[in-house]
């Protein structure tokens, strides 16, 4: 049983040093079920690292991640707080799927095989059932006709939509998007953004690092502006982007609207 009243995902005091870079310097925010949270910020502000900490692809050095009110990534062992073993994180990762900037489809599998891989291999669900669901997911991202195509035969926009279907195939509680349109030609961004808008309107919980200010303004329920490893400003995107209160966000908004 999970707490339904608290936030779905909450982070507090998240810190990460990569090499000599203190990338995250104490990040706090929460995401409610059904909410679309956008993370914006200049490159190097720690957005992608933050996103990878959320599903523990990167282990934070410090701080807490609460999923449905329960801490993940750390275990109490003989009274000491220890990082959890990789294999104890796998179940959590299936609940919070990720879509990447560079798609990262498996090149030796067709679109349909990419979508079916994790439900069949990781979740051990029956292949026939998964196939039907995977076909439905490809239809949802408007790619039924590309089911048997390999990634190298598809456009970037198509690959990214397959990647979204692959993430959805895990039946996740939340989706993480890491600048998913940044590697796409301008005319291909729209088809990916429209799939994301559909998901948002269906009530999917989403955390999206994005440079698409139109998406942030119109689709996100809340925006978090990262600067030098900290949350510099947060709130309703329409307010925050129209009336930034910090000079850092004022400068950022100017730079992306010019």
């Amino acid at each position: 049983m999970s707490a339904t009243d608290g936030p779905l995902l909450e982070v507090a005091g998240l810190e990460k040093t990569l090499g000599a870079q203190h990338v995250l310097r104490g990040v706090d925010f929460a995401v409610n079920r059904g909410e679309v949270l956008a993370i914006i910020g200049a490159s190097g502000s720690g957005k992608s690292t933050l996103l990878r900490c959320l599903n523990l692809l990167i282990r934070p050095d410090n701080g807490r991640i609460l999923w449905q009110g329960r801490e993940v990534g750390w275990v109490q062992n003989a009274g000491k707080r220890m990082p959890a073993r990789e294999r104890d994180l796998l179940g959590y990762r299936t609940q919070i799927s990720m879509v990447f900037q560079s798609f990262n489809l498996f090149p030796h599998m067709t679109a349909l095989q990419n979508v079916m891989e994790a439900p069949v291999m990781v979740m051990k669900r029956p292949r026939d059932e998964v196939r039907a669901e995977a076909e439905a997911l490809l239809e949802k991202v408007r790619l039924s006709h590309r089911a048997s195509a390999y990634p190298h035969q598809m456009s970037g926009g198509e690959q990214q939509r397959v990647a979204i279907a692959r993430a959805l195939a895990m039946r996740p509680e939340a989706l993480l998007f890491d600048e998913v349109t940044s590697a796409l030609d301008p005319e291909l961004k729209g088809e990916v953004l429209s799939v994301m808008r559909d998901l948002a309107s269906e009530g999917m919980t989403m955390v999206s690092v994005s440079h698409e200010m139109g998406f942030v303004r119109n689709v996100a329920d809340r925006v978090v502006f990262m600067h030098k490893g900290r949350v510099c400003e947060a709130g309703d995107p329409k307010d925050v982007l129209a009336n930034p209160s910090t000079p850092e966000l004022q400068a950022f908004v100017r730079s992306v609207t010019d």
């Binding site: 179940g91 498996f106 030796h108 291999m121 390999y150 190298h152 035969q153």
Partner: protein
């Protein structure tokens, strides 16, 4: 040319051919099978296993194959392990071949972008499944050409077994030459035999490469 030296000794040569096939075949299979886990260990997450496989690779590649062969044939009995000539030869040749194979396999595994590991981890896959389902199927394309090339060397290198009383092709041929003084005919026949054995190996490589190729990607 007088080919009667070949036809008169056909039985001996055929038997030697069979021995070469057996020694080289076993060495090839064993050395590939052993090299895979060592290659994974070499770049894996566990430090002690990384060191073990690095030392193995260094020793096996830096030591002459003949020395390894002598160690398994003459050396092991010193510590109470007695192997017949053929198993001792297979063991020595396998040690040497494994050291090289693991480096080709390792290079292929490293050629798969790290983003593929990341995507697989994000889907909740455990490490062994990531290797089996995602990394190895992609790496195998990179691994095949240099690995097969090394295996043709292993095939020819099986002639070293002749040095430890294994009657394989080259050894048998040399014995025959010193008895008959007809090197030319015998060497041609032996050369053709190696040509055929490695021809099969290279043919297999192409079969595997065709089987792995994706539509529209050559």
């Amino acid at each position: 040319m007088n080919w009667s030296v070949v036809t008169d000794n056909a039985g001996l040569l055929l038997e030697a051919f069979g021995t070469t096939l057996w020694v080289a075949g076993a060495t090839i299979v064993l050395s590939v099978v052993l090299a895979f886990p060592l290659a994974v260990m070499r770049d894996g997450p566990i430090r002690s296993l990384r060191i073990v496989s690095a030392v193995f690779s260094w020793v096996m590649r830096a030591t002459p194959a003949l020395t390894l062969l002598f160690l398994t044939y003459f050396g092991l009995p010193q510590v109470g392990i007695y192997l017949a000539a053929v198993p001792a030869a297979i063991a020595g040749l396998t040690l040497s071949a494994t050291g090289y194979n693991m480096e080709y396999i390792r290079a292929g595994l490293r050629a798969v972008p790290s983003t593929q590991y990341e995507a697989a981890r994000a889907l909740g896959m455990p490490f062994p499944m990531i290797l089996r389902r995602v990394i190895v199927p992609q790496a195998i394309r990179t691994i095949m050409p240099p690995l097969t090339s090394n295996l043709t060397l292993v095939m020819k290198g099986s002639s070293l077994a002749g040095m430890v009383a294994v009657t394989e092709l080259t050894g048998a041929g040399m014995a025959l030459i010193s008895r008959t003084y007809q090197p030319f005919e015998i060497l041609i026949v032996i050369g053709l035999a190696y040509l055929m054995l490695n021809g099969v190996l290279i043919w297999l490589q192409h079969r595997v490469e065709n089987w792995l190729s994706l539509p529209g990607q050559g």
